[in-house]
């Protein structure tokens, strides 16, 4: 209740017999940027639609600014008018750019001179002042998304909802939208809820992250917590921890455990007792490859063979396998992959820090 602008209590939603969201609880504070991450079909869009009051949830309550949102009527409209929603695919009206942007203000009964001033300001902000008289349907995808964003912002909402704001855009347009969003986020006078499956976006922009899997929040926390310390193996594999390995605790000593994974023994930080079955989660960027055995603080080091190298952009994804058959993925820069001449069959040494491995007990639900 305290400083929560938006409060969701036990929210569930179904389409026909299909359960889309189940028992969601969430508080979003004023001025916060909250990202909802999850794979396609996890229910992100449905959640945003419910928050934007486009649909009435099957069960559960939404509180806005301390007031329970009614299921219909004037009050619901008034609350909706304090929110803005940018849909994944921008839906522009068959009118000029200017008329598209001003409609929200018109519908709120704003005066003509106020409308003009505000529209010109957002047009400038999104860099579309040259196109104000153009028909919005003739714009490119990136421009259309900027119009949609401008249209949502011009009404000065308390909460801005963004559904996959950069999913359908080329990299340049996506970068523009992202910088606009982070600029807004930095100003702190608008609360944002962003649904995305783009991990880096979720990480960079968010104050807090919620991981939505199969209609449930599996984990809600700060981005570092969610990305470094995923609560279970599902979250781990979703947030980009590519190495999720099954293991068993052999020894546990003052917070450092020896864990056996497929015949290889590694060290990790955890307090689980001996014989606990665990998942060992290791981000590929935390795995180091070297040609010779190196002296470093990394507690884990063993020889392995390169199985596959896939380069994309400046990074190379290298799959290696130890003598016992333990497979790991490492992310190295393309340049160092070339310098080390990493090709299939190459012998390398793999190392990672004990603190780099995040260990969770197997079978731990949510």
């Amino acid at each position: 209740m305290s400083d929560a602008l938006l409060e969701i209590i036990n929210l569930s939603h179904s389409y026909g017999n299909r359960r889309v969201l189940e028992g969601l609880n969430l508080n979003v504070r004023r001025g916060e940027v909250f990202t909802v991450i999850g794979p396609t079909g996890a229910g992100k869009t449905t959640l945003l639609r419910l928050i934007d009051l486009l649909e009435v949830p099957s069960s559960g309550d939404i509180y806005f600014d301390g007031r329970r949102v009614p299921e219909k009527g004037r009050e619901r409209l008034q609350i909706r008018r304090r929110l803005s929603f940018v849909l994944q695919k921008p839906q522009l009206f068959n009118e000029s750019v200017y008329d598209n942007i001003c409609c929200g203000l018109k519908w709120r009964g704003e005066k003509e001179d106020g409308i003009k001033r505000k529209v010109e300001r957002v047009l400038e902000m999104v860099g579309l002042e040259k196109h104000r008289h153009r028909n919005a349907r003739t714009l490119s995808g990136g421009e259309a998304q900027r119009v949609a964003l401008a249209r949502a912002l011009v009404v000065e909402p308390d909460v801005l909802l963004l559904d996959e704001p950069t999913a359908n855009l080329d990299p340049l347009s996506a970068a523009k939208i992202e910088s606009l969003i982070s600029h807004l986020a930095a100003q702190r006078d608008i609360t944002m809820i962003i649904a995305t499956h783009d991990m880096s976006q979720g990480w960079q922009l968010a104050d807090r992250v919620g991981v939505l899997l199969e209609g449930k929040f599996i984990q809600i926390g700060g981005p570092d917590e969610v990305f470094r310390l995923p609560r279970n193996e599902k979250v781990a594999s979703f947030v980009g921890v590519e190495n999720v390995l099954e293991g068993k605790v052999l020894e546990s000593n003052q917070g450092i455990a020896l864990i056996e994974i497929r015949g290889e023994v590694i060290q990790g930080v955890c307090e689980y007792p001996v014989d606990t079955e665990v998942w060992v989660c290791l981000r590929p960027e935390d795995v180091t490859l070297s040609l010779a055995r190196i002296q470093s603080s990394a507690r884990n080091c063993f020889p392995a063979k390169v199985i596959r190298v896939i380069s994309s952009g400046p990074l190379s994804r290298v799959e290696v396998e130890s003598g016992h058959g333990l497979r790991l993925v490492a992310l190295v820069t393309r340049i160092s992959a070339e310098e080390m001449d990493l090709v299939e069959g190459k012998e390398v040494h793999v190392s990672f820090k004990a603190t780099g491995a995040h260990i969770i007990e197997k079978g731990l639900k949510s």
């Binding site: 639609r49 934007d52 486009l54 409209l77 909706r80 008018r81 929110l83 803005s84 929603f85 849909l87 695919k89 839906q91 009206f93 068959n94 009118e95 409609c103 929200g104 519908w107 709120r108 249209r151 949502a152 009404v155």
Partner: protein
């Protein structure tokens, strides 16, 4: 054969010389059918939005009924209105029978189903996401309906033009409730029908040509709109 040729030549003469009777009859046709079209639009466009955006029991049945009435026989509307407006009828006191007003009412009734049905299907063509966008931007029910009609404007205009075409070309209702009174309720179609049976082919052919020209104009504007 010569009779037809003679009629054609005379007809062109009547049109080119702007014969007063031709001008009067064509003018009245345009006014009566135009008024019916405007009145039907004012009633049907909001009504179509209401039917489209509200969900209520029997909605499907109503839409089916509207579509069935697309081919409502004109004489049936005429008969219905005749009974209603005749001296002994429930609305006989208004004294509307055999006046242009009665014709306007008749044609309004006649074209309303077409206008309603086509407007509803025009609104069906507006993407669901677009409507959601409008709602999320804070539009109330009325504002959403107005936006949807604007988005479907070409299809809606096409519906209005179709309705006008049906109104101006019908004869059954106009003759039954208008009475085909010279200088008062004669329109293009009723005049053609009367003059032909009287044997005055030239006036009929002249009016026929004009009616065809109007139909052509309506069709050209319709296909222009559909290409947008």
């Amino acid at each position: 054969m010569t009779e037809i040729w003679y009629g054609l030549v005379k007809a062109v003469e009547l049109i080119v010389s702007l014969d007063p009777e031709v001008v009067e009859v064509v003018g009245r046709s345009l006014i009566v059918s135009g008024s019916a079209c405007v009145i039907a639009s004012v009633i049907c466009l909001p009504l179509a939005s209401l039917i489209h955006f509200r969900s209520f029991p029997g909605k499907r049945v109503i839409i089916n009924l509207i579509q069935t009435l697309f081919s409502l026989p004109t004489v049936l509307v005429g008969l219905f209105l005749f009974v209603l407006l005749s001296r002994g009828g429930p609305l006989g006191g208004l004294g509307l029978l055999f006046t242009p007003a009665a014709m306007v009412i008749g044609q309004t009734l006649l074209i309303s189903p077409v206008l309603l049905g086509l407007t509803i299907s025009a609104l069906n063509g507006v993407a669901r996401e677009l409507i959601d966008t409008a709602v999320s931007l804070g539009a109330d029910g009325f504002q959403v309906a107005w936006l949807a009609l604007r988005e479907a404007r070409y299809a809606v205009m096409a519906a209005v033009i179709m309705a006008f075409g049906r109104a101006i070309s019908e004869v059954g209702c106009a003759v039954m409730v208008g009475g085909n009174i010279k200088g008062f309720t004669r329109v293009i179609t009723t005049t053609i029908s009367l003059e032909s049976s009287k044997g005055d082919l030239e006036l009929s052919i002249a009016l026929g040509i004009i009616l065809l020209l109007i139909a052509l104009l309506v069709n050209v504007s319709l296909s222009r709109l559909q290409q947008r």
